[in-house]
Amino acid sequence: SQQGEEDPQALSIQEGENATMNCSYKTSINNLQWYRQNSGRGLVHLILIRSNEREKHSGRLRVTLDTSKKSSSLLITASRAADTASYFCATEIVYNTDKLIFGTGTRLQVFP
């Protein structure tokens, strides 16, 4: 099974609403990262949260990390149609900073 699994797999909301995506993982991590992918494009890094951090903000993005539950959430506030994309969490596991393990992704559709 995946080290990182996002839920929901798909999410449809109206502009102005908040979108919340969750990520669960299985092994101890150094950090957890969130990426965005527009259809047919490469991934773009959004935010990195370290294992000793509990919450991080960047613009309209808020990420939380609960290492006791091995889970993270990404909140996008006041969503826009341009936020339509797939969102992936990725974990850097302890003792290996050389690679990330990506989750299965959440497809977000924001309707105008």
């Binding site: 047919g40 494009r41 991934l43 990330l100 989750g103 299965t104 992704g105």
Partner: protein
Amino acid sequence: SQTIHQWPATLVQPVGSPLSLECTVEGTSNPNLYWYRQAAGRGLQLLFYSVGIGQISSEVPQNLSASRPQDRQFILSSKKLLLSDSGFYLCAWKPAGGSYEQYFGPGTRLTVT
């Protein structure tokens, strides 16, 4: 600033033909380099990564191979493509020796017919 290039952008190849995808990075030295494959509507599968010239780690045993002939060049190859090799191939890099984000190229859409 750093830039990552991948080519070609799209490729249609018959089953049994060879494959060579190239990735180059500009503006940095000694990066970690990565090849991922993404099936339609799915997550990313790490195929290979490299922490230096000639150093390749394989994550998934399969029909593909990777090489790093130069510091900032990463090549994905196959001698004979299978239908199951179809997908979206992404190259990425990150600075070596620490916990950093990865930077992705634009990807290559491969269709094996």
